[in-house]
Structure formats: C-alpha cells, structure tokens
C-alpha cells in the first residue's frame, strides 16, 4: 500500500491539476477549423469550373474563426495587461510562441486569399459597403488577383502550419504522458481538415463542391481514425506511465466520452452517412458535418482534460 499526503493546502493549485480550462480546447478547435477552411477553400477555388457564390465568400471564415479562438485564448491568459509580451519575443523552443506568431501571419494571408477569391462584382459590392476603406479593399483585391498563385501556396503553408501547431502545442509538453506523442500534430491537422470541410458543407456550396468536400472529409476521417489508433497503440505499448495515460481513454474516466463522442459520433457515424450520401442511398443533410464538428470539439476537450489528470 502506498499513501501520499500532500500538506500544501494551496487552493490556487491543489484542487485542480488542470491548469488549462475550456478556453484552450475551444481555441484548438477553432484554430484547427480555420486551418481546414484555409486549405480546403484554397484547393476548391484553385479548380477550374463553376464556383458557387457561397464558396467565394467562405475563405473569410478563417480569419473570423481565428479571431474567436484568440478571444478564447485571451480569456485563458491570467495576466491580461501583459498579453503584448507575446509579441516582444520569439522563443524557438516554445510552441506557444510559434503559435502566437503564426496567428499573426494567418490574418494577412487569409484575408488576401479571401479577397482574391471574390469576383469583380462581389469585390465591388464589398468596397461599396465599406465607405472610405472601400478604396483600400479595391486596391488589395487588385493586388490579390495579380498574386493569386503565390497566395494559394502561402495559404496552404500557413494553414498546414496552423493545423499542425495546435497539436504540437500539446505534444511538446512531456510532463503530461497522454500528450507526449508526436502523432498529436498530424491528428489535430487532419481533424482540422475534417472540421473545416464540415463547416464548408454547412453552407450552400454547389453540389459538385459538396461532393468533393464529402470525399475529402472521408479521407480525413479515415486518416484520423488510423492516427488515433496508432497514438493509442504507441502509448499502450510503452512505459507504465504511457499505459496509464492510454488507459484514461481505453477504460478509464474518459473512455465513454471518447468512444461515444469522438469515435462513434465524430468519426464512424459521419463516415457512414457520407458514404451512403455519396452513393445516393441517402438524402444529403447537414447531419454528417454537424456530427464531425461535435466530434472535433469533443476530441480536443477530452485530450486537453485527460492530459492534465
């Protein structure tokens, strides 16, 4: 028998090992989704052929989602008046520092890509609604049109960086056994692609775009399932600490939520629905993308919370 008594009596620390609350998983979810939107919208818009008006506007979702995510981050930060300190330093060893700078990079890239994807009429309409700033929008639109190819590459690279970093943030913190896996970066990236596709599918894109998104989403879901399996096998076949960490998801307190919400509702069910919809055996509904979003949010809540127990 081993009994441990910590007489720290520190209400600031002892009742909760959980330093990070709901804000971090929400931020990781929104950041991942923004990365998915950046990558998938760029790929869709690079195709020749007809584009739906909705798809032309949807790249604006990326900076919007990142803004919401940064708001969640701001709520988590305890020393709020000192937030500007993030931008007086770059620490290569700290993923949090990489993230702070990537977020800043996302804004110009995603806004220019979004402008580039508007047609002349849409850009003119946007400029007319913005008053004096309209001229700036017109100039930026013209510039974005000229550099559309370069912007697409920048958008794919920044999107991948953003998506990967949301997982790398956790995986470098070796003190938490559940997070010490290099697979978290790729897992969060494909999950971001999947939730990004889901968000785009919730809007009235045309049927060809919807079909492509569903197909890419199926690939993302399949890859995510394989990576999650490897992640759990990697932990469970490791040291006692890793086995205990994997046990949290395989049979411990987080098992029910993980298998029901992430694997069942977030991966298996939407994959099945998308397969049936693709073969025209089922009417296309927003159910599959909605389930993917639920699964993506649940994955981040469970991993962030379980990692800190």
């Amino acid at each position: 028998m081993t009994e441990l008594d910590v007489a720290r009596h520190n209400p600031l620390l002892d009742p909760r090992l959980q330093a990070w609350g709901w804000e971090i998983p929400v931020y990781l979810f929104l950041g991942g989704m923004a990365a998915g939107v950046m990558i998938l919208a760029t790929l869709l818009l690079a195709r020749p052929g007809a584009r739906s008006p909705a798809l032309r506007w949807l790249p604006f979702a990326a900076p919007g989602l990142v803004t919401l995510g940064m708001l969640a981050l701001f709520l988590d930060v305890e020393h709020k008046l000192y937030v500007w300190r993030f931008y007086l330093a770059f620490r290569w060893s700290s993923p949090m520092s990489w993230g702070a700078w990537i977020l800043l990079l996302v804004y110009p890239v995603s806004l220019l890509v979004a402008l580039a994807s508007l047609d002349g009429a849409q850009a003119g309409w946007l400029a007319s609604r913005l008053g004096r700033a309209g001229r700036l929008v017109e100039a930026a639109w013209a510039m974005a049109q000229r550099h559309a190819a370069g912007l697409r590459v920048a958008s794919l690279a920044t999107g991948a960086g953003l998506g990967l970093y949301t997982g790398v943030l956790l995986s470098t913190l070796a003190a938490r056994a559940l997070w010490s896996s290099a697979l978290l970066g790729p897992i969060f990236l494909v999950s971001g692609l999947s939730t990004g596709a889901a968000l785009l599918m919730l809007f009235p894109v045309n049927s060809e775009e919807r079909h492509l998104l569903a197909r890419w989403d199926l690939w993302a879901i399949g890859t995510e399932a394989i990576l999650l399996l490897l992640f759990l096998v990697g932990l469970a076949s490791g040291t006692a600490t890793g086995q205990a960490a994997a046990g949290l998801l395989l049979g411990g307190p987080y098992a029910t939520a993980f298998w029901l919400l992430v694997v069942g509702a977030g991966l298996a069910l939407p994959a099945l629905l998308e397969l049936l919809e693709g073969r025209r055996l089922l009417r296309v509904t927003p159910a599959a993308p909605a389930l993917v979003l639920v699964g993506g949010l649940a994955l981040r809540f469970i991993l962030v919370s379980a990692g800190q127990t």
């Binding site: 009994e3 620390l13 305890e78 020393h79 300190r85 993230g99 470098t172 913190l173």
Partner: protein
C-alpha cells in the same frame, strides 16, 4: 567556476513541522492560499510494517528546464546558479510552464503572473541562506553550491544515498532527498 545552487533535504531529520512553509510565506510575502514549498508524507507498506518518508518539497530548479522551454515570452528563465525564476513583468499568465512542469511547483498568483520558489535568491545574493533553510528546526535543509565539492550540500549528496523526484522526466532536478 560556474555556480550550481542545489538543496539537500534530509528525510531522516524532517518531522514535517511546516516551519519551512511558513517562513517562506512570510519572507516572500505570499498571498492568501499561495505557497512555494510544501510537505509531502509518503507511507509505504501494510500495518504494522509501515515506512514513512517526510519530504519538504519545492521547485527542483532543474538543470533541464521544460518550463523555461515552454515559456513564450522569456518570463521563465534560468538565473544565477541555475536558479529558475519568473520575471513577472514578462509573464502573460498563459500557464504553459505550469503544464510543462512535472512537479506542480508553479501556480498562478492572484495578481495574474505565475509564481514559484526562487531559492530565495535575494537572500542568497546577500550571503544568507534561503528562508526555509534558516528556519528549519531539525536542520534537514542544506543549501549551497553543488559545483564546489567542499560545500556542505555537495558533501551530503556525495556521501549519502539520495533520490530525486521523477528522474524519468529527464529534468535533472537539483533538490536531493537524502534517504
């Protein structure tokens, strides 16, 4: 020679009186509920054959510092003698260091910045021992320069069997528990 501040905690002398905890709180003017050191009592075995180890724990001022690596602003840094400190004017309270620390040595001060043991560097620089060391009534705590083989702490660590907390974390802790 480069100094390497370290502490030896004699678990055979420690009676868990909490004097180190209180003297630290007073010396460093810590807020209500905030502590930089604490007492752990670990009991092993089946009654009546029990063993008890009492440890006065604090930040291990590790030689490999995941907390400093995780800090995005450089607020967490390695200062004189390898002491790990937080510059509260650079700290955003993002808590990355708290999540990176395997020992739970860090906490959020009510003012918003992260707080932790400093080895009382302000006293050490005046030639005084840390407050906990000075107060300890059983003389279980020994502080000094590990890089100086003649120092009391280096001699204790060289002579006595000891353990460090979670060596598998790869942090090379500099607080040694003599057993």
């Amino acid at each position: 020679m480069t100094r390497r501040y370290a502490m030896a905690v004699d678990t055979r002398r420690c009676v868990g009186c909490n004097a180190c905890v209180i003297s630290c709180k007073t010396e460093n003017d810590l807020p209500s509920g905030g502590f930089r050191d604490w007492i752990v009592q670990e009991v092993h075995g089946q009654f009546p054959s029990l063993t008890l180890q009492i440890r006065s724990e604090r930040c291990n001022h590790c030689a490999e510092t995941p907390c400093v690596a995780a800090c995005p602003t450089g607020a967490s840094h390695v200062a004189a003698g390898g002491t790990v400190l937080v510059n509260r004017r650079k700290c955003t309270g993002c808590k990355a260091c708290m999540v990176a620390c395997p020992y739970g040595a860090r906490w959020v001060h009510p003012d918003g910045h992260v707080d932790k043991c400093t080895f009382c560097l302000h006293r050490v620089e005046r030639g005084q021992p840390p407050a906990c060391v000075e107060t300890c009534p059983t003389r279980s705590l020994t502080f000094g320069d590990l890089a100086d083989p003649a120092s009391p702490v280096a001699r204790l660590v060289a002579r006595r069997p000891h353990l460090v907390l979670q060596p598998e974390a790869g942090t090379r802790p500099q607080v040694f528990f003599l057993t």
